[in-house]
C-alpha cells in the first residue's frame, strides 16, 4: 500500500543556524508516484529525504510546518518507509548477508519462519544469488547497495527513500543498482523518492521531477517537460545537475546568459573532440616517470593485483588507468605514487622529476621529497586533510617544499580564488561539503606544483559544477607541465583532460578471488596464504 507525502510550509533548521537547512516547502506527492529530487548543493535535498524517512536526529535541529507521510508524522518505527543511503560501507549492518536482510524484518517483529522464508527470495529478487552465510564485507560497493535494497524489499515498505544510492559506485554497477531499485518499487508499488545528480540514470523511470532551491521549490513537473523547457535550463545548470544528453537547450542557447563559475571554458558532459585532443601531442615534454615490467600488489599479498606494466609518463601527459573492478588500478596508482613498494619490476623517476633527490625509486624518497614531486589524491578526501583550516591545508605543501612565505601566500590566494573557497578560508576542511572537500583535496596536492599528480576516482559522485571545476584544475596542471595519472571509470572526465587510456588486465574471476582484490575487500589475507 503506497502512501502519499505532503509538506505544508515544512522547514527544518539546524540548531546552529539561523537559516533553515530545507524549506519552507509546500509539496504533494501522490501515493505510488516515483519522484526524482534535484537541487543545488546545500539546498537540503538530503535533509528533506531524512525528514520523510523520519531519521533526522532529534536534538540536532528544529522542524517547523507540517510534513505528513500517509497522513501521519514520519516515524521509521512504523516500518512504512525504507531508506537507502549513499555510502555502501556505512549501511551494512551485520557481517553475514542473511542477517543483514533479516534486520529490518526482525525489527518489525515478524515471526522467525516468515523472516527465514523471505531472506532467500529477497536476495534473489535483487540479483544476489549468494548463500545467507556469505560475508557482507566480501561484497562490492554495488552489491552492498543491492543488499541494503534487499533488506528493504523484505520489509515491503509503502515509501522508498533513496539518498544518492549510486553516487559512490562505478557507472556499470550504478545501472544495476538503479534496476534493483525499480524492481523493489515495482514489487511493492511503493511511493519512491530519489535524490541523484545523474539525471540520465533516472529520467526514463520517474513520473515527476522536483528541483529544490535554497528557498523552496524551484521547478516541478514531469521529466519530459522539465528538461525541454529552455527557461529552466540555466537554473538547472546552476544547480550542478547533469543535464540529459538529448535535452536540446543546454548545449546551445543555454549559455548566452552568464555561465556558472568555471564551467564557462568547456561544457559539462562528454567532451569528445575538444581542442585538447589536437593540442596534446605538442605539449608533451620530457619523460618524468618510467616503469619497467612493473607488478603492483598490496603488502603481504602473494600475487600481484596488476602485472607487467611498462610505461613512460611525460610532462604534460594525462594517463587514464581504466579496467574492471579488481583489475588492480588503485594498487597500481599507489605504487606509481611511491606509497607502496613494487611487487616486482621498478618505478623509476627520471632526472627531470628527481631534481636533486638521490634515489631513483619514488618509494625510497622521504615523505617530504615525495610530496614535492608526486602528488596523490585519495578516493576519500577526508583522509588526507591534516590541518584545521582550508588556507592552512593549501599552504602545507608549499611550506614543506621550502617555498618562501610570500610565494606560499600567493599560491594559497590563487588557489582559494580558483576554488571559489575564499570565504571559507578559515573553515575546517572536514566541515566542507562533499564537492568542496573533493576540490580542496586536489588543490592541496597541486599546491606545491608536483611534476606528477596521481588521482583515484576524482569525479565519483560529484555534481556537474564540481566536475567542471575538477577538469579545469587538472587541465591547468597539465598546461603547467605536470603529468596526471587518473584512475577513473568516468570516461567523459578522461576525455575532458585528454587522457591516453591504459586498460589494466582482465583476469579470470577465479584468479581474482584467489588473491583477494582490494575492491572486493575480502578479509582473507591469511586464508589466501
Amino acid at each position: 500500500m503506497a502512501l502519499p507525502i505532503t509538506a505544508c510550509g515544512y522547514s527544518w533548521t539546524h540548531a546552529d543556524r539561523d537559516e533553515p537547512a530545507v524549506g519552507p516547502l509546500d509539496l504533494q506527492i501522490a501515493a505510488g508516484e516515483r519522484v526524482l529530487l534535484l537541487g543545488a548543493s546545500g539546498a537540503g535535498k538530503s535533509t528533506f529525504l531524512h525528514a520523510v524517512a523520519g531519521v533526522l536526529p532529534e536534538e540536532s535541529g528544529e522542524p517547523a510546518g507540517e510534513l505528513l507521510v500517509g497522513g501521519e508524522a514520519p516515524d521509521p518505527r512504523r516500518g512504512s518507509t525504507g531508506l537507502v543511503l549513499q555510502d555502501p560501507d556505512s549501511q551494512v549492518i551485520f557481517s553475514r548477508i542473511g542477517d543483514d536482510v533479516a534486520f529490518g524484518m526482525e525489527n518489525l517483529g515478524l515471526p522467525a519462519e516468515v523472516v527465514e522464508a523471505r531472506i532467500p527470495s529477497s536476495l534473489r529478487a535483487l540479483g544476489l544469488d549468494l548463500p545467507p552465510e556469505h560475508p557482507s564485507a566480501a561484497l562490492s560497493g554495488g552489491q552492498k547497495q543491492r543488499l541494503a535494497l534487499a533488506g528493504i524489499h523484505a520489509m515491503a515498505p509503502d515509501v522508498i527513500v533513496l539518498d544518492e544510492p549510486t553516487a559512490n559506485i562505478d557507472p556499470a554497477s550504478a545501472t544495476e543498482v538503479r534496476d534493483a531499485v525499480l524492481t523493489v518499487q515495482a514489487e511493492t508499488t511503493a511511493t519512491m523518492l530519489v535524490v541523484e545528480h545523474r539525471v540520465e540514470l533516472w529520467i526514463d523511470h520517474v513520473d515527476q521531477v522536483i528541483v529544490l532551491g535554497r528557498d523552496g521549490i524551484v521547478a516541478q513537473g514531469p521529466p519530459g517537460q522539465l528538461f525541454t523547457d529552455p527557461e529552466l535550463t540555466d537554473t538547472l545548470i546552476d544547480c550542478g545537475i547533469w543535464m540529459p544528453q538529448d535535452s536540446p537547450a543546454p548545449r546551445r542557447g543555454g549559455l548566452s546568459a552568464p555561465p556558472p563559475p568555471r564551467s564557462a571554458a568547456h561544457q559539462v558532459g562528454p567532451l569528445s573532440g575538444s581542442p585538447i585532443e589536437g593540442g596534446r601531442s605538442g605539449r608533451l615534454g620530457e619523460v618524468l616517470l618510467r616503469t619497467d615490467q612493473l607488478s603492483a600488489a598490496r603488502p603481504r599479498m602473494r600475487t600481484p593485483a596488476a602485472s607487467d606494466l611498462s610505461l613512460s609518463l611525460r610532462s604534460g601527459q594525462a594517463l587514464g588507468l581504466v579496467g574492471a573492478n579488481g583489475a588492480g588500478k588503485s594498487t597500481t596508482a599507489l605504487t606509481l605514487a611511491g606509497l607502496l613498494p613494487e611487487f616486482s619490476g621498478q618505478v623509476l623517476a627520471e632526472a627531470a622529476l628527481r631534481e636533486g633527490a638521490k634515489r631513483t625509486r619514488p618509494f625510497a624518497w622521504p615523505s617530504k621529497q615525495l610530496a614535492a614531486r608526486i602528488g596523490m589524491v585519495f578516493q576519500e578526501p577526508a583522509h588526507q586533510f591534516l590541518t584545521s583550516s582550508v588556507a592552512a591545508e593549501l599552504e602545507l605543501g608549499p611550506r614543506l617544499a621550502g617555498w618562501s612565505a610570500a610565494e606560499a601566500q600567493a599560491r594559497v590566494a590563487e588557489l582559494l580564488g580558483g576554488l571559489g573557497l575564499t570565504r571559507l578560508a578559515h573553515a575546517h576542511p572536514q566541515s566542507l561539503s562533499g564537492g568542496e572537500k573533493r576540490r580542496l583535496s586536489v588543490a592541496a596536492m597541486l599546491a606545491p606544483r608536483p611534476r606528477v599528480l596521481i588521482v583515484d576516482e576524482p569525479t565519483f559522485g560529484q555534481d556537474a559544477l564540481t566536475w567542471a571545476g575538477l577538469v579545469e584544475m587538472f587541465r591547468d596542471a597539465l598546461d603547467y607541465g605536470s603529468a596526471v595519472v587518473a584512475v577513473s571509470h568516468d570516461h567523459s572526465f578522461l576525455e575532458a583532460i585528454g587522457a591516453d587510456l591504459l586498460e589494466l588486465g582482465d583476469r579470470s574471476s577465479a584468479e581474482r578471488v584467489a588473491d583477494c582484490q582490494p575492491d572486493d575487500r575480502v578479509s582473507a589475507g591469511d586464508r589466501s596464504e
Binding site: 539546524h14 536534538e59 540536532s60 528544529e62 572536514q430
Partner: protein
Amino acid sequence: MPKTTTPKTTSARAFTSAPKSKQWRVVDYVTTAVLGIAVGLVFWVLALSWKVLELAFQAFPPSIGLIAGLWVLAGPLAAAIIRKPGAALLCELIAAIVEAVLGSHFGATVLLSGLLQGLGAELVFAAFGYRRFTLWVTAASGMLAAAFMAVSENIMYNAEWQFGFQAIYAVCAIVSGLVISGIGAWFAYRAIAATGALSSFASGRLR
C-alpha cells in the same frame, strides 16, 4: 528554543549544555560503541609503535604512570561528546574489550580495568547530575578514572612492587589522567566539534 536566553558566561555556552533528554537515542549507542572501537584501536596501534618509548620508561617502571593516564581517554571523551548517563562507562568498557580481543598481555583483566576506569570517569559526570559538561568537569573525570586505574593496577599487576613505588606510580598516573585524558579529552572533543561531525549531538553546538 529556550536556551537562547541563558546568561553569556563561559560555563553556559551552548556547547557546554546537556542534551534535551537523558534518554539514549540509537545514534548515541552506535557512536559510543564506534568511539570505543576507534579508541581501542588507537591504543593498540600506539602500544605497538611506542614499544621503544615504553622501554625507556622501564628504567624506572613507576614513571610509566606518566603516560598511563592516556588509557582512560575513552570515558571522558565519550561523556563529553555523547552526554548521556553511562556513556563514559560503556565506551571505556568497549575500548577495553577491543584492546583485549586485538591482543594485549593483560588478557581478560582489561575488562575489569575498563569497568573500573569507566566507573571513575562516569561518577564525576553523575555527581554533576549530567548537567555540566565543561573543561573542568571533564578534567576531574579523567583524574578520577586514572585514580581508579592506578589503584586497581597496583592490586592486580604491581602487587609485588614495594609500597613506595606503588604510590609514585599512582601519583604519576593521576597527574597524566588529569592532563591527557581530562584536559586532553576536552580539547580533542572541541576539535572534533569544529569539523561538524557532531551535528547530531548537543555537544556539536558551535556557538
